[in-house]
Amino acid sequence: MRRMLFCTLALALLLLAGCRGTVDDLAGDYESERVDLSPARLTLRTDGGGSLTVGAEEAPFRWEVRDEGRVVLHTRQGGIISARQGRGTLELDMPGSGKQVFRKKAK
């Protein structure tokens, strides 16, 4: 029992540490690569908050890392947008309109 509890705690700590590292890696500013529309900027903060900015309008949301490289954005209205981390990119799966790629800006 003690061993199992210890192993569970150790695994949880490892997962937390891994997630912490992933969160740090994901956090930052992203820009859309769309050329047909006005540029869109996606901001992921390390506290789990974020926003999508197009022009002067901004849509806040919260985000979390679910699986390896899979990010979920929670809108204020309760909607969910799934995204996947790439090499310096974040690919959002927009319902009904396909995937939208955001490239991370250098700090």
């Binding site: 029992m1 999508l52 197009v54 319902p95 309109s97």
Partner: protein
């Protein structure tokens, strides 16, 4: 002397007789002196008898003579004769036993001879009267010592015989009637000289024989001493070997590995049998391993399994073993030839093949001894016995290894069993704990059940009010709280459009069709060219797709049912973003489909 003085006093005739007598005595004394001189240097009895016979016949006046020297107890002796034909002399020698029976009847008295007396015997009284030649009437028997007797026979005499002499004549008064007193005395004296010479010669011969016997015995003693020394050396060597083997037994009693036992055994055998080099090898065919000990020579690769197997096989074929029986020890015949080409680092002079069982076999090979000599049979037998002892120790070591492994396994199983018992104990404690917890839960539920029977409507109302109050407060505090009054009840109803009109607006004014349903419904079927914009994702989707849409562009929204008015929600939000013409499609997608307008997929 008294007699001579009497003769001188008697007259001239008497003086003449006295002179003759003195002359005769002087002659007798000269004969005795010459005889003594003749016999003094002779040490051989036969020569003494021959000399005496020659010397005695002349003064006595005998024409022939026979002298016998015999051992009556064994009827052995010698017969010498003078003046007899050769045939009679030869016959006398052949009749020596008969002569002994006739003239030495006291030979069975076991040494009780009548001292050295000289006895005169009449021929007619002796049992051997016919044995001696006729005419030999002077017969004298005498004893030399406790074993030897003699017989002297003389005759016939040149001066005739004296038939009137009495048979009982004594030696002091005359030997026989045939001789006068002087001749008898002379013969008596001569016989005493003969007896003395024979005694001396026999004594010398006895001494010589004793000396020879003594020398022979001395030689035998010397040989026995040499043999005893050889035996002593062998015993010393055996004692040394046994002492070394005893030490080996004490040493090997504390060894528990085959390799250590082989090293100690080989070292002890080399020392015990004085061998310069040796090799001991044990082959385990089941485990395919080799234990090897080499002394006094380099290791030439016999520790490899293949080479060791060949060596053991050749030793087996060269030994007297016909089958691999347990605890077999057999010497290897001609090991130098039999084991040649097996990689031995030295020439094997003695080898033993041994088998512990069908799987474990081995060989002991000894090289040349320090002295260069081959081992004796007793050494080989002792070596064989010691190899048998080695087998016992090797078997003991193997059994100990098995027991140790079994003990280790048993200890490990004990530890696992102890661990299992501990886990079972902990599990039992956990089960007890859970059972107690379950008992408590059951007791609690039972108590709650009992108490629920006392539950009143007042309690229910209080709980309901409290829950509503808590929910209301939480909804007010939450940023995602729902409005107390649905928004669609407060806002004005949206402007609607028929499917036909919507189609015309789409074709004529480029109206944008918006599907407000969730994505799952949208993916199943939607108006061709429609955009999916749900209330849940309105903010983000609007920014991504509708931010650049001109506000004057007609927007036709559809998607709703009895309980959910997504189309009206989306239409209200679009209108809130100042889009000038936001319309809701009447009857939604079914009306559009019923008209036969295009949809996808």
């Amino acid at each position: 002397m008294d007699t001579a003085a009497g003769h001188l006093a008697a007259g001239p005739d008497t003086g003449q007789a006295l002179r003759l007598e003195l002359e005769r005595k002087r002659l007798s004394l000269r004969v005795l002196l010459e005889t003594a001189q003749e016999l003094s240097g002779i040490l051989q009895p036969r020569k003494i008898m021959e000399t005496f016979l020659l010397t005695a016949m002349g003064p006595i006046g005998a024409m022939g003579g026979v002298a016998v020297l015999a051992r009556p107890a064994s009827c052995e002796g010698m017969v010498l004769s003078r003046g007899l034909p050769a045939r009679e002399a030869e016959a006398l020698e052949q009749h020596l036993p008969d002569i002994c029976d006739a003239y030495f009847p006291y030979r069975d008295l076991d040494g009780d001879f009548p001292s050295s007396k000289i006895r005169a015997i009449r021929r007619d009284q002796a049992g051997g009267d016919s044995l001696l030649p006729r005419g030999m009437d002077i017969l004298l028997c005498f004893s030399v010592d406790d074993e030897h007797c003699g017989l002297l026979a003389l005759g016939p005499l040149l001066a005739g015989t004296n038939a009137d002499a009495g048979p009982d004549a004594d030696l002091g008064t005359g030997l026989d009637g045939a001789l006068d007193e002087d001749a008898s005395n002379l013969l008596h004296s001569l016989l005493h000289l003969l007896i003395g010479a024979l005694r001396g010669a026999l004594a010398v011969n006895s001494i010589r024989q004793l000396s020879v016997d003594l020398g022979r015995k001395n030689d035998r003693l010397t040989e026995a001493l040499a043999s005893s020394q050889t035996v002593q050396r062998g015993l010393d060597r055996r004692v040394h070997q046994l002492a070394a083997i005893n030490e080996l037994a004490e040493e090997m009693a504390h060894l528990h590995e085959v390799q250590g036992i082989l090293d100690s055994f080989l070292l002890t055998m080399l020392g015990a049998f004085s061998v310069s080099c040796g090799l001991a090898l044990v082959l385990d065919r089941a485990k395919r391993c080799v234990d090897l000990a080499v002394r006094g020579a380099p290791d030439t690769g016999l520790s490899s399994y293949g080479t060791a197997d060949v060596l053991v096989y050749k030793a087996f074929t060269a030994s007297g073993a016909r089958s691999v029986d347990p605890l077999t020890v057999e010497p290897v015949s001609d090991p130098a030839t039999a084991l040649a080409g097996c990689g031995l680092p030295f020439e094997g002079r003695c080898a033993m093949y041994f088998a512990l069982d069908r799987d474990v076999q081995g060989v002991l090979v000894l090289g040349e001894t320090l002295s260069g000599e081959a081992l004796e049979d007793e050494d080989a037998q002792m070596l064989r016995a010691q190899v048998g002892t080695l087998l016992g120790y090797v078997q003991g070591a193997r059994h100990l290894a098995i027991i140790t492994a079994l003990n280790d396994d048993l200890q490990r199983q004990n530890e696992e069993l102890t661990r299992t018992v501990t886990e079972l104990t902990e599990a039992r404690q956990t089960i007890d704990l859970l059972e107690r917890a379950g008992e408590r839960v059951r007791s609690f539920l039972h108590a709650e059940g009992l108490r629920s029977r006392r539950f009143s409507w007042m309690d229910c109302g209080i709980i309901l009010v409290a829950a509503m109050l808590l929910g209301f407060l939480f909804n007010l505090a939450s940023p995602n709280g729902v409005p107390l009054v649905p928004e669609h009840l407060r806002r004005l109803p949206a402007q609607t459009v028929t499917a036909q009109k919507a189609r015309e607006l789409q074709q004529s004014e480029g109206a944008l069709i918006v599907d407000a349903r969730p994505q799952a419904f949208f993916d199943q079927q939607h108006v061709r060219g429609a955009a999916n914009l749900t209330p849940a994702l309105f903010d983000m989707m609007y920014l991504m797709r509708f931010a650049q849409v001109p506000l004057s562009t007609p927007l036709i929204v559809y998607g709703g049912n009895i309980s959910r008015r997504w189309d009206e929600d989306v239409a209200a939000r679009l209108a809130a973003r100042e889009h000038e013409r936001v319309l809701v499609l009447e009857d939604g997608l079914p009306a559009w489909v019923a008209r036969g307008y295009p949809v996808e997929p």
